[in-house]
Symmetry: C2
Subunit: 370 residues, 2 copies
């Protein structure tokens, strides 16, 4: 991103820019930025839907914060913004898709829609894509199935960052697993987790705050355990579970499962063959997997049982009264409500200043409060 | 198990019983014990196959060690040893099965075979069963798909033992996830993991050895963190990841995923509605889920890529030279080789003495060395 960073830094934002913006305005801004670098509107809107949803759910590392990366991919022509995915191989319940190096959400939406369609016909749809790009929050695709009354799952491989138990170097990415399932009256279960003990974003945040990271999160560049956030950021993450006594090999096994569903099933790059996160001169060629299951092919009453189990969990006595027991998806639900109450999404001023510069460079109207 | 324990304790084993037995003899012994309590031979053999496989793979907690539980279930008539499963609902790619309270491996083999058959036709088979019993190592079913060149997955719900992050009481069982995938020349990837930080068996072992358990494994009966193995055994397990700072909620989310695939999809008991582990006066009514995926419906060359990724992992520089980096399934592979070299499976003498008493009580020939 050096070129873009340099170019946009020629512009100086005015002091005192607002930090809260309506979601429609954030969406408009993303679409304008992406179309300014030759992304067709349809594809730009798909990306904007996804990035706004991430911010609404409080996953700021995967929202507007990533816009510059997508712009950069278009400027450098490493991503084919106008591409549409094609089906290479298909059965009533499965498909292998070539994303044709299109934008992640374009490929992802196409595949999840296909999986949903198949699940409605046969009970289950299992679709794998190669030739894709960063597809944002894995939960987005799972939720899109859940909104139609189905179980949705989504997986993606990513650049190497996670060290196998007993190892010193990274082999797999943070390879997330997402599962969404519908409850009653719009309630839902949404698990969206990296298979590392934490995501890279949490280490970045610790770094920015000048704090350390807990033991068991990361190794330094030489493969030694570290609690120094800077060294951790320059190093590797441990798999979910952490060290061997705490079963880190299970987290690594889950990361392998994701890679099997992605790069191994599709025949695209896998493990450390995936381009480095910082390399932006070649296509990402990521693989993803999308699964939909129609609960009506099993026992009736799925949504009622789902809500009952979730409410049972939420109503359990907490260890600390101020910290209620939550179900996967509840923290995001709380954030959605906060944005609604506040009438907009609030960003860090540094991010807003940075986007103002990007807007000027691209010749796009900066984010506006009306 | 009180009745059985009391009855068999009337017998005293001779001193110096052998501790190593050929796998065929262990198999014979299990079949004899089960048929002596009115289990038809077909069903008894299915159970014996599974228990012997667990011991061969080094999962002694799930092998011959569990025989008394299965015998007890038959004696108390809480399990229908002669039952055969029936399909309630079916599509080309899915099925809902009623296990009719049959033995776990009888239900499990039936479902996995059905999933494999469907996967060969449509690329994916997704089969859920209710009315089942303890089905042994989850990996058994996954491996049976892998042996036919498919990806296999298996999940089961179990009695409550795992506490949600921030909670003080158990809501879910150790709900395991198994995935097996074939590599080249008989090599395979076999992930078979409880979604708790460790299985209950590891706490039992620490107890027997009079050792403590690491912080982050367990809570005591009152929901307070403990490193005392006795208190842990009487208490609850933390989900994979452990405490909140180390993302235990991810492990719990995975446990929920398993429950969704099992009790929630099948409409059978789920969460803390499942009978307590120690209650043996009512059917277990467990639910299980079996998935098979035929990689030939995706990109050709699956097994080659699988082996390449596994070997890459195995050949990584280890942190400690004596502890090589392993792939899921490697520890079991090493144990299988050990048994082969030693010409038999070696058990703890206490277990052998106990089984001798069981044999006498049942009127069955005790384990014999050739």
């Amino acid at each position: 991103m050096d070129f873009l960073a340099e170019e946009k830094n020629k512009y100086s934002p005015p002091a005192g820019l607002a930090t809260k913006y309506r979601q429609e305005e954030v969406h408009r801004f993303i679409v304008d930025c992406m179309t300014s670098v030759a992304t067709p509107t349809l594809q730009a809107r798909a990306l904007a839907d996804l990035l706004v949803a991430a911010d609404l759910r409080g996953h700021f590392t995967h929202g507007l914060n990533r816009l510059e990366m997508y712009v950069n991919d278009m400027v450098k022509k490493v991503c084919a913004g106008d591409a549409t995915p094609v089906i290479i191989k298909e059965s009533v319940s499965t498909a292998l898709v070539d994303g044709k190096n299109g934008l992640g959400p374009v490929v992802g939406n196409f595949c999840m829609d296909l999986a949903i369609e198949k699940a409605k016909q046969t009970g289950v749809g299992w679709v794998c894509a190669k030739g894709s790009n960063h597809y944002g929050i894995a939960g987005w695709y799972a939720i899109s199935a859940s909104k139609q009354g189905l179980l949705g799952m989504s997986f993606t491989n990513t650049s190497s960052l996670v060290v196998p138990t007993r190892g010193k170097q990274a082999l797999l990415g943070t390879n997330p697993i997402a599962l969404a399932a519908p409850g009653e009256k719009g309630d839902d279960f949404v698990l969206d987790m990296a298979t590392s003990v934490v995501s890279g974003g949490k280490v970045e945040v610790a770094c920015m705050k000048g704090e350390g990271v807990p033991a068991g999160w990361a190794l330094d560049r030489d493969g030694a355990p570290t609690t120094d956030a800077e060294r951790a950021l320059d190093g590797f993450l441990l798999p979910l579970g952490g060290v061997e006594t705490h079963s880190g090999y299970k987290g690594f096994g889950l990361g392998m499962m994701v890679e099997i569903f992605c790069g191994i099933l599709t025949g695209a790059p896998y493990g450390s063959n995936i381009r480095d996160w910082t390399r932006t001169d070649q296509p990402a060629d990521l693989s993803q997997c999308f699964v939909a299951i129609d609960p009506s092919f099993f026992a009736p009453g799925f949504e009622g049982r789902m809500t009952d189990l979730m409410n049972h969990c939420r109503n359990m006595e907490p260890e600390t009264p101020q910290k209620p027991v939550l179900v996967a998806g509840d923290p995001e639900r709380l954030h959605l409500r906060k944005v609604e109450q506040e009438g907009g999404i609030t960003y860090h001023i540094n991010q807003i200043n940075n986007l103002w510069k990007l807007a000027k460079y691209l010749g796009v109207t900066p984010l506006q409060t009306n």
